[in-house]
């Protein structure tokens, strides 16, 4: 067991850090304030290959491992969690399932432009009546054999990269079957839907507490016809595809949470050294020292879990067998809770200034909260973890 990053990974971290500090950090506050999607940054990230880090080279990606991708999301999120989630949702929730389950034609048509960053990706599972309980999904896809098309009806909500994406992975039910006890159960399938398809439109733009620059929209499908060939994976296998996709997505969100926590800790260390009370810097107070020690220890523990999950996913990519579901759940659960705790303490250590928008930790605390909710709440992560313990 080696806890040292290879030189290659160290260099990748230097790259992401430099990019984040130079290109992303100066815009973070404005992105939050104006709720504008950071399109210019995405263009720059496209130029440098950040939109296809773990995608194979033959499909236009960078051919790097999941750890490199995780470090990218982490470093971006240290300075701007909005930018971090743009990359995470695009890569983990859209490009990755096409790489894993797509046909050669689907990969050529959709994965290549996604990996090159020419197109942006999104993923839709959640609906107004279906979050954690996927059986509540109402979006339905019916095959029109004659026309050779699937007809989608329904809506999705809280979709990250919602309006700015070009390619969407949409989960809809295609069949209703009876289980062994005679209960009716929906069978889901996954579809690739392009922006601009007639019958596909956008609903409300959500106004959020944090990650305010992220484009979060409702997607509406009204007799939306897509080619028969845009079924991703097998018919009826949409649920396992969605779960597999979310396992990967959770590592991305865990990396985002880790980055937020690290960013808040960095700011707090700087601030407590500068801020003077009772004639000395508040970092000279034992309370501050002990708080910082606890924060740093938890951040480090979160980092180990996140990197371990990324390495497990790398094993899966090599053997297509290794499960990384539990590691991903643990990483996301812990990193998200650490992000919330560390940012809350960061605000506290900043005192009144921490409550003011001019200071980054105020934004970071709002951004941290979503990591405990999206791509599976902390409670869902506990269900996944305990499920593996008690099976």
């Amino acid at each position: 067991m080696d806890f040292t990053l290879s030189k290659k990974h160290e260099m990748a971290r230097t790259l992401f850090k430099e990019f984040a500090e130079t290109e992303v950090k100066p815009l973070a506050q404005e992105t939050d304030e104006t709720e504008h999607f950071p399109a210019e940054t995405v263009k720059k990230m496209q130029k440098y290959g950040f939109m296809g880090i773990p995608i194979e080279k033959e499909y236009g990606g960078q051919g790097c491992d999941p750890l490199t991708y995780v470090m990218c999301v982490e470093e971006l999120s240290k300075v701007c969690a909005t930018t971090g989630v743009v990359v995470s949702a695009h890569t983990s929730l859209c490009a990755d399932p096409i790489q894993t389950f797509g046909t050669p034609e689907q990969k050529e048509k959709y994965l290549v432009p996604l990996a090159k960053g020419e197109k942006l990706g999104a993923f839709g599972l959640t609906e107004p009546g279906a979050g954690t309980d996927a059986q509540g999904v109402q979006t339905k896809a019916v095959l029109d054999e004659e026309a050779g098309e699937w007809v989608l009806n329904g809506s999705k909500c809280f979709i990250t990269n919602g309006e700015v994406a070009d390619v969407y992975i949409i989960i809809a039910y295609t069949d209703i079957v009876e289980d062994r006890r005679g209960r009716k159960v929906k069978k889901f399938s996954a579809f690739i839907v392009e922006k601009g398809t007639p019958g596909f439109s956008f609903g409300t733009k959500e106004k959020k507490m944090g990650i305010r620059g992220s484009s979060t929209y409702e997607l509406i499908f009204e007799d939306c016809r897509i080619p028969k060939d845009n079924l991703l994976g097998q018919r009826g296998k949409g649920f396992p595809i969605a779960m597999h996709t979310l396992d990967g997505g959770r590592i991305g969100i865990a990396a985002q949470a880790l980055g937020i926590a690290e960013g808040a800790l960095e700011r707090t260390i700087e601030y407590t050294k500068e801020r003077k009370q009772f004639g000395r810097s508040i970092s000279a107070q034992q309370n501050t020292q002990f708080q910082l020690a606890d924060m740093a220890t938890k951040v480090e523990a979160a980092k180990m879990l996140v990197y371990k999950a990324a390495e497990k996913k790398a094993q899966y990519q090599a053997d297509h067998k290794t499960s990384y579901s539990v590691e991903a759940a643990m990483a996301k659960l812990y990193a998200a809770e650490v992000a919330m705790e560390v940012t809350t303490k960061a605000v506290q250590l900043h005192g009144g200034y921490g409550y003011i928008r001019e200071y980054d930790v105020e934004r970071m605390m709002r951004d941290a909260k979503i990591t405990e909710i999206y791509e599976g709440t902390s409670e869902v992560q506990r269900m996944v973890i305990s499920g593996s313990l008690l099976k």
Binding site: K7, M11, A12, L15, Y48, G49, K57, G61, Q62
Partner: protein, 260 residues
């Protein structure tokens, strides 16, 4: 077209500076970066590669850990890396360095050699032009723009108050200013590729047409009398006076110190 870019690993000014007992820099103990002028030179070469097609080789002389700066250059898009490293080359001044690099360059084909104007550690701006002298090729220093036209380069050479546009037939050497461009970032895939490639490592025996007496500390005419980190200035003298008194006070001081 073949371009060689000479780059140097220099101390990161954000980190501390450390010296050896003989006054030379303890490079092994310091945080390092690619010298900014050299990075601009590399970017210029990569732009020529993008526009006209070229094979870009990066070459550095230094400790074995200078390999890192070559990998960085390759992660930005350079095709090959050559590391010139040998104990006998240590402590070299500009003369011994340019002799060494010219000795290495004699082994390879090139149309254009680009170096940085100067390194942020020594600030001499001598190595680039000296290499061209050793190799007997034209040099244009202080380039703020480089264009290729047939078998020639057209370079905009910067001066403090004007600029010259110069044309030289290749092979030639150009020294680049960091103002030349904004260097690109590496790419993640470029980093992975750079670590999959081999770096050519050359020692003393690989240098062509050079004498031992011109190499390393022993072959360096420059002798360092004393070297030190930034010396802390004293607190100075503070006086509170009204404007007229202050003017005459300052004037007296300037006269006293022979400034005026």
């Amino acid at each position: 077209m073949k371009i060689v870019v000479c780059i140097k690993q220099v101390p990161d000014t954000k980190g501390g500076v450390k010296f050896n007992p003989d006054g030379t820099l303890d490079r092994g103990a310091m945080l390092t970066i690619m010298n900014p002028d050299d990075k601009a030179g590399l970017e210029a070469a990569l732009r020529i590669k993008d526009e006209y097609g070229a094979e870009v080789t990066v070459l550095t002389m230094g400790l074995p850990k200078a390999e890192d700066v070559l990998r960085e250059a390759m992660a930005m898009g350079a095709d090959n890396g050559i590391l010139v490293t040998d104990r006998v080359l240590g402590g070299a001044d500009t003369w011994a360095t340019s002799t060494t690099i010219a000795g290495a360059l004699r082994n390879i084909d090139y149309d254009l050699i680009i170096t940085g104007r100067q390194a942020i550690d020594g600030d001499t701006a001598q190595v680039g032009p000296q290499i061209s002298e050793h190799l007997g090729i034209p040099v244009i220093s202080y380039a703020q723009d480089i264009k290729i036209e047939g078998d020639s380069v057209i370079v905009n050479r910067q001066f403090e108050d004007r600029h010259h546009v110069l044309k030289a037939k290749m092979p030639c050497l150009v020294t680049a200013l960091s103002e030349l461009n904004v260097p690109r970032y590496m790419t993640p895939g470029g980093i992975f590729d750079a670590f999959d490639k081999d770096i050519t490592v050359w020692g003393r025996k690989d240098l062509k047409d050079v004498d031992d007496s011109d190499l390393g500390l022993a072959g360096s005419p420059t002798k360092i009398a004393k070297a030190s980190d930034k010396v802390r200035k004293g607190a100075g003298e503070k006086v509170t006076l009204d404007a007229d008194e202050a003017v005459s006070y300052i004037m007296d001081k300037l006269v006293e110190k022979h400034v005026i």
